[in-house]
């Protein structure tokens, strides 16, 4: 019996980053949407929809980082050094918005606006720098020997700034469909309108990234547009179009849970498409998951823990969401 350990670990890390993107995506999205909802009670409700779950959501990002260090230390070392400034800025932004959840409810009335702004600024900046890091990562990271060989500002490009802006749209869409699910009345009505607009903008963003990536990178172009890949990848854009139309239809019919789930599906498709463009490289454009992997003693040891614990984690995560199911109303906040 032999399992391809690096492959298994790549799958685990991709899964945990995907969990992070969809789960923290909607609570970061709330922060991005905050400027459009100015009423204090509405903001309390928005915060309270995620108060019991946000740190669990963020833990997937910690797992992504720890898993990367355990399984692909070379990638952890090189990619994080290459993306030094956007990573540090993202982490600092997450500090601001993470504490805002608690501080906002502890603040005196005249202080609250500061933590509202921290929540907005932190959510926007964290999302933007995640998107920028993603764009810079897709564009590739120069490596000489075992170290990053580029400059401190290589991550800034028109493409990476665009992916930064694009991720803002994506998280805001997730946030608005989460609000549809968890709120009611005027707040929910506006979330429907916002979600519909954002769905169209996100569709445009995804199309732009899909065209831009192969144009900018001939390797990625070859991967998508060569035979036989072209044949069995042809349904991917169609799938995106189908999910988008299902999302819009759910929004029109005021179907709450389907709206949220189709928005999640759209994210997963976009994530999958990017994953395929880069596969099997963990430091694009040239270092594969097998080149960067830890020795089997490390991969195997950690895999045992992952296989045992991740299903249990998923079970109690689902249970937590189940405990806090239903609408959050003004005044029944948890604080």
């Amino acid at each position: 019996m032999s399992i391809d350990l690096p492959l298994t670990w790549a799958a685990i890390i991709l899964f945990s980053i995907m969990m992070y993107v969809v789960l923290d995506g909607f609570d970061l999205g709330l922060g991005i949407l905050f400027p459009f909802f100015t009423d204090k009670d509405e903001r309390d409700v928005m915060m309270n929809t995620v108060a019991p779950v946000w740190d669990g959501n963020e833990t997937w990002l910690v797992l992504g980082g720890a898993g990367l260090m355990a399984a692909f230390p070379l990638a952890y070392a090189v990619v994080l050094s290459a993306l030094y400034l956007p990573m540090i800025l993202m982490l600092l932004a997450l500090v601001f918005r993470g504490v805002a959840f608690e501080f906002r409810f502890k603040a005196l009335d005249h202080e609250r606006h500061f933590w509202d702004k921290a929540f907005i600024g932190g959510s926007v900046a964290a999302t933007f720098f995640q998107g920028v890091s993603l764009g810079a990562y897709i564009q590739g990271i120069p490596v000489v020997g075992h170290a990053y060989a580029g400059g401190p500002f290589d991550w800034i490009s028109s493409f990476s700034l665009f992916t930064g802006a694009g991720l803002l749209v994506a998280y805001a869409l997730l946030g608005s469909t989460w609000l549809i699910l968890k709120t009611e009345g005027g707040l929910q009505a506006r979330a429907y309108v916002t979600a519909r607009r954002l769905a169209w903008i996100l569709a445009a963003v995804m199309m732009a990234v899909s065209l831009w990536t192969p144009l900018a990178d001939s390797g990625i172009a070859a991967r998508w547009f060569s035979l036989p890949n072209l044949v069995w990848l042809a349904p991917v854009p169609l799938l995106v179009a189908a999910v988008l139309s299902l999302l819009l239809r759910s929004l029109t019919r005021k179907a709450q849970l389907p709206s949220f789930l189709w928005a999640l599906a759209l994210m997963v498709l976009g994530y999958g498409g990017l994953g395929f463009s880069l596969w099997p490289n963990i430091i694009p454009p040239a270092i594969s998951i097998w080149d960067a992997a830890s020795p089997p003693q490390s991969l195997g040891f950690t895999l045992v823990g992952a296989v045992v614990t991740i299903p249990v984690i998923l079970i109690y995560t689902v249970w937590t969401y189940y405990v806090f199911r239903g609408k959050v109303r003004t005044g029944n906040g948890y604080h």
């Binding site: 797992l63 070379l74 070392a77 050094s81 030094y84 990573m87 540090i88 500090v95 993470g98 501080f103």
Partner: protein
């Protein structure tokens, strides 16, 4: 400052800030579990009032621990990439186990613990509290295993320039791990006990004698009485372990440059001078160093001069941070004894000098914890992995400009955010426990 210095400053700053929150989290989570268990057993509302009071402070503290910890999880890669590449195959899996077995457990059950009173039954709620408390202890175990491996590495070999694990049990149960884990966990409980006790003292000094306040004073002081002397014993064992495995660190802690050969003194106070290779103005007790560390009148101690200057930790810092820690430890023991004496006749609630001292010692557990942390981490220098990988060979190759920028940002953001966090915590403490708030909330 060189890029190396800046990266070291940034790491020291971010971890020193971070470590405060998990320490309090560890202590408070177990305290909350005990409070809830006591409430379920006795149904005395005083326990529930205390639970509600401290859980709000716990929530604030936990949030700050999560976000400052997230920074740590990525900083090994951003700033210490050569360390990560060298040792990631060992420290990475330990960190991954910490996330999988502890972080998710804490974060997953925290929501129910804080906000789930009306949504789950009492036993399921208690279960959630216990899971959070258990998570904090599991978390400490893994991260201490990782840190201890860096201090006393074993169970690995070096292949193609990186550390490859050969025996995970030996990696995890490395020589300094049990002592460090016990020392750190007890330190977290002591630091929390002093914060809780000082909060009670503040209220008693203002004439707030409600049962919940007296109860938390009493509980925290019993913990202090038991744990402070125990911590001294654990610390002594930890020191003997350091003597065996990290002699340079021990020599720096003692400010001991060379043996006289006829019983070594214990230097109580002095100024270790790295240039002149001596400890100036030393106030020493003859032979006591040999007696404490080797249990003989003439035992030989490790000497700083037996290590090349480039292999010596900075004794001036380590010598003093060690003394700050030990000094506070003795004060804790004294405070504990004083509290036992005052309990006779119920004078504990009214003895203002005692309550004032306790109030002022509120942060001292955290100060001692940080001082101990500085001792062990700076004492490990100039290595990240003791005797194997130098700190200078561990760092990422960033420029001074961008490191200065990020360090400045960290200082500003942490100062503002966690400064306000501490203000909010103190405000909550000042409000004090209220009677039956939770019963009303539950309708």
């Amino acid at each position: 400052m060189t890029a190396l210095d800046l990266s070291r400053c940034q790491f020291a700053f971010t971890i020193a800030f971070h470590i405060i929150f998990p320490a309090i989290t560890i202590g408070l989570a177990s305290y909350l579990a005990i409070l809830e268990a006591s409430w379920l057993r006795t149904r005395q509302s005083v326990y529930l009032d205390l639970y509600y009071f401290w859980s709000k402070i716990f929530a604030l503290n936990f949030g700050m621990g999560v976000v400052s910890g997230l920074v740590m999880a990525y900083q090994f890669g951003t700033n210490w990439s050569r360390f990560s590449e060298f040792a990631g195959s060992i420290t990475g899996p330990l960190l991954a186990y910490e996330v999988l077995t502890a972080f998710f457990l804490e974060a997953g059950f925290l929501g129910v613990m804080l906000f789930g009173w009306t949504r789950v039954g009492p036993s399921l709620h208690f279960f959630s509290t216990v899971m959070v408390a258990l998570g904090t202890l599991i978390s400490a175990t893994w991260i201490i295993a990782s840190n201890s491996w860096m201090q006393t590495p074993q169970g690995y070999q070096i292949l193609e320039g990186r550390a490859v694990p050969t025996d995970w049990l030996r990696v995890i149960f490395n020589p300094s791990f049990p002592y460090r884990l016990a020392h750190m966990s007890v330190a977290a409980f002591l630091a929390t006990a002093l914060v809780v006790g000082a909060s009670a003292a503040w209220h008693l000094l203002r004439g707030n004698h409600q049962p919940a306040v007296r109860k938390m004073l009493s509980m925290s002081l019993w913990l202090l009485v038991i744990l402070a002397p125990l911590q001294m014993i654990i610390g002594d064992l930890h020191g003997l372990n350091t003597l065996e495995y990290q002699p340079a660190k021990l020599a720096a802690m003692e400010g001991h440059w060379e043996n006289s050969g006829d019983g070594e003194p214990l230097i109580l106070f002095g100024l270790p001078d790295m240039e002149r290779e001596e400890t100036r103005f030393a106030l020493a007790v003859p032979r006591l160093g040999s007696l404490i560390l080797t249990h003989s009148w003439t035992g030989r101690l490790p000497e700083l001069k037996q290590f090349a200057p480039r292999d010596r930790p900075n004794a001036a810092v380590v010598f003093w941070s060690f003394r700050v820690m030990v000094g506070i430890g003795f004060l804790m023991i004294a405070l504990g004894l004083w509290s036992v004496w005052l309990r006779r006749g119920g004078r504990l609630w009214h003895c203002r000098p005692f309550l004032h001292v306790l109030l002022w010692m509120g942060p001292s557990g955290l100060v001692a914890l940080l001082a101990g942390w500085f001792t062990t981490e700076i004492g490990r220098q100039p290595w990240t992995v003791y005797g194997v990988l130098r700190t200078a060979d561990s760092v990422s190759s960033h420029g001074v400009t961008q490191l200065s920028l990020t360090l400045l940002l960290f200082v500003l953001v942490y100062g503002a955010v966690f400064g306000m966090g501490i203000v909010y915590m103190l405000r909550l403490i000042r409000l004090g426990p209220e009677s039956n708030t939770l019963e009303e909330a539950k309708g």
